[in-house]
């Protein structure tokens, strides 16, 4: 057992567990977005940044940092809240998150985080990129305007379904989640139509067809439910 402190609460972790695992077990809330139980941590969104007092206040992503003996972790502070809010503002400014017209309105992790962290306005200029919506798949659609590039769909499809349909194409602000060699999703030769990516997606970027504004509810816990039932090696 590894012993550490998180927000001055004693916490414990097994070897191999992360600071986030330890915090959850100790009942300390740390916001996350790109992290999803059952998928490999990638540390992409940085919303889970925590401060390590005995590492000179260094900031590390809780989801991708192993718990270590004696760590003195700050998980919630004014500094962290302001950093997390800035990250959220950047995400909102980068694409077109018009909640009132989104299938996920009311069931969106991005929206919930904005509420939780008190992000009531965006101080950066909006980029308003002109991005496409691909509705070529028989059952699902992808609206790049709502995508935060968390990669949960990419990992769900690769690690749980084993189809490796999604990938990141391009780089920087021009990155898009694309299927196979960049053809429309409906033409994908690898997609099995299982819908795991849709359930994993935290926003309205991936959605089931036939859902209208505010109707799309997701089941991100599905991935862990599936992997926990698998026989272990």
């Amino acid at each position: 057992m590894i012993n550490l402190r998180i927000d001055d609460v004693p916490a414990q972790a097994e070897p191999g567990q992360t600071i986030l695992d330890a915090a959850r077990a100790a009942g300390v809330r740390i916001p996350t977005l790109c992290h999803l139980e059952a998928l490999c941590p990638v540390g992409a969104c940085r919303l889970c940044l925590v401060e390590i007092r005995n590492w000179n206040g260094k900031l590390v992503p809780a989801c991708a940092t192993p718990a270590q003996e004696g760590l003195d972790v700050v998980a919630n502070s004014d500094r962290l809240t302001s950093l997390r809010r800035t990250i959220l503002e950047l995400l909102f400014a980068e694409r077109n998150h018009i909640c009132a017209f989104c299938v996920s309105n009311g069931h969106c992790e991005l929206q919930d985080l904005a509420t939780e962290l008190g992000m009531d306005h965006v101080t950066f200029p909006y980029r308003f990129p002109a991005l496409a919506l691909d509705a070529s798949h028989a059952k699902f659609g992808i609206d790049h305007n709502r995508c935060v590039l968390c990669g949960r769909c990419v990992r769900a499809c690769a690690e749980v379904e084993g189809a490796f349909t999604w990938g990141f194409a391009g780089r920087g602000v021009h990155t898009l989640v694309e299927a196979d060699l960049g053809d429309r999703w409906g033409r994908s030769v690898t997609c099995t139509g299982c819908g795991k990516c849709v359930q994993a997606c935290p926003t309205g970027a991936l959605f089931e067809k036939g859902k209208i504004t505010a109707e799309q509810e997701k089941r991100p816990a599905l991935l862990a439910e599936i992997t926990e039932r698998r026989p272990r090696a």
Binding site: T165, A179, D180, L181, G182, T190
Partner: protein, 157 residues
Amino acid sequence: MTVATETRVAELVKAYAGRPSELIQALHRVQSELGHVPQEAQAVVAAVVGVPLSQVRGVVTFYHFFRTSPVGRHTLRLCLGTACHVRGAENILKAIREELGVGLGETSADGAFTVEGVRCLGACGLAPVMMVDDDVYGKLDPKRTKRILRQIREGEG
């Protein structure tokens, strides 16, 4: 892409069969032979090397080096790095556009030149710099740039 080309691509990357960590080398091999990596060739590479299609797409679109459409007979790489920017790369680009009728990422109508922008060629002391194929041209000004391009074109003749 014809079956013959597919066979040719498969032959080209045979050495990388079943070696996912050598995906980039395999793509380089294809590009050095075909001049670009068309979508059909990407699919062949994925199958031979043994990686998902989405991963090939990710690599091809991440690295500026890889092209998915045919290139001109000469590749012009204009440096847009900091030193060249300060020394007036913008004016050189203007000269190129005047001479060739195309800008960054485009191929001239006669198929002679593909113009690309790169970030620092490691020859900052010669800024502004461009490369045409394997030759480096430094301390450029608009007039000289046009002259060089004309000479290369005539040299083709």
